[in-house]
Symmetry: C2
Subunit: 312 residues, 2 copies
């Protein structure tokens, strides 16, 4: 069906402790974050976005970035990433020996202003010294482009805008880019086209797709991205996450639902679905509410049910 | 991207008042059913599965089949279908001048026994006299094949089993077949393969795909079916429906989510999304609980949000 299916692994990037918890009202205690990340490290995911080295005032729920980053067990082969908003954050992240520094900005001016309180030009200007600071460290830079498939304030964006932003990342020598559907506006047609375009223009760039299930299209968009050759996906355990500017919306695509679909389709992810479901079971208690994931409720397709009494 | 995109319309079949309400504990009053169907008739859907002419004892929530079928307004161009379990049901349906008689049986022996309390051979044997009874009437026969993508009791089924069942339908002269993923076990890989196989073996057969979103793959499966040339889809307003033998599971794919995705992708469905969302708004009160659809909560992708205060 797609290149990845014949040739290798689809890489699952777990973002629940950063992208998921960032949105929660409750502060998940540091030891529980560490416990969850250690559990996720054993499932076979390729990357974990552990936390964000931002100001504790900006995101109180991730105020324990150092403690979490230093407290977790490092599973060989797993990339431990952290979001970094500026040089100060980069220094903090490097001091904790993160494997990947995730920079973030929006493709649309209004969302960048709303989310980061600066212009896109200012964001790009901030990226350069961070890249410089990380040079020579173990940390690789990834740039996440929010609203790459549409902006909640501006609507659809011209594809050229996205390509120009990726070009600017490439010019800074950034080797990894994540195309983010921040508010779940992407559709499979658009995903396939944009992913093909980015992959063919920058064949050496490691491209990750980051989808939300806001309008139920999350896994359909994964399918479209796979067909365009994308083999790296962000996902959040239980489907936690969301965007504060899209009220009522559901969150990130759900890791266990994604791994389940890929497994059923014959893709190798290296992830143990049962272990992932086991980890997801703890979430409702940790965050204080039910989570949107499906497989947690319905079980995998392979689950066989007992016959009803009248049929026995 | 697919044949349908260039050449024409994707047909939306609304099943909420049969497949959706059948599962509900409450009896939706006849006049509210009629009102909803009349509203749906105006949205541009191609077909509405109105009700089921089964024994009122078996499905009390659809005990008002005649009253509903006779009470609705007939929109020209819309096909009004009803489920029919036997010759008696067929006679009742014909007396109400249905446009389509929907027969149902399972691809797996155990699900057929559990759901219909007879063997597959008995089901097929019952189809023949129904087809005979309907001959010469306005009603066209559609055969729905449950568990076509997997059985909750037996797991995956060999593709040959499905093909043999379709062959039996074709041998009876049945011109329309619906492949049903009754408990949401289908994955896009399997969907594309089976749909291609059925369409190429029986090019004159009108094939409909019927997916559930039990494991979050509903719209991904639609995408795969589209790519295999399928242009007819069952869906349920609000995502109502489900299967009593898969507890905790979510229901049918949601009509407004489906129409929204297809519209965003550039497919013509002929359906007015706003009118559909408007109709869906009434559901929670009608059935007494929230419904699983996404677009009802998040709004369409084209919805633009106001800027937050600090960005103005």
């Amino acid at each position: 069906m797609t290149p990845a299916r014949e040739s290798g692994r689809v890489h699952i990037h777990e973002v629940v402790t950063r992208d998921g918890f960032q949105m929660e009202r409750v502060f998940v205690p540091t030891e529980h974050k560490i416990e969850l990340i250690d559990q996720l490290s054993s499932t076979g995911v390729a990357k974990i976005e552990v936390t964000s080295f931002t100001s504790p005032k900006a995101i109180p729920s991730l105020a324990d970035a150092e403690a979490v980053m230093r407290g977790i067990r490092r599973e060989p082969g797993v990339v431990y990433a952290a979001l970094v908003p500026n040089v100060r954050g980069c220094e903090r992240a490097l001091a904790c020996e993160v494997d990947e520094i995730n920079l973030v900005m929006s493709a649309s001016e209004s969302h960048n202003q709303a989310n980061l309180r600066m212009s896109r030009a200012q964001s790009i200007a901030q990226f350069a010294p961070i890249v410089q600071t990380a040079r020579g460290s173990r940390a690789v830079i990834n740039a996440s482009l929010s609203t790459a498939f549409g902006c909640p304030f501006e609507g659809a964006l011209p594809e050229t805008t996205i390509l120009e932003m990726v070009e600017q990342f490439a010019a800074l020598g950034i080797p990894r880019v994540t195309l983010c559907d921040t508010v779940g506006m992407a559709n499979p047609q658009q995903v396939e086209r944009l992913c093909r375009e980015v992959s063919s223009r920058w064949p050496d760039l490691e491209v990750t797709a980051h989808f939300h299930n806001t309008r139920g299209m999350g896994l359909a968009n994964v399918l479209a991205a796979l067909q365009a050759g994308i083999i790296r996906f962000d996902a959040s355990l239980g489907g936690l996450g969301g965007c504060p500017y899209a009220p009522g919306a559901s969150g990130n695509i759900c890791t266990e639902d994604l791994v389940h679909m890929l497994g059923e389709m014959g893709y190798a992810t290296g992830v143990d679905l049962s272990a992932l479901i086991e980890a997801a079971r703890a979430l409702p208690e940790l965050v204080g509410h039910a989570v949107p994931g499906y497989v947690l409720k319905a079980g995998p397709s392979s689950r066989v049910h007992p016959l009803p009494e009248h049929s026995k």
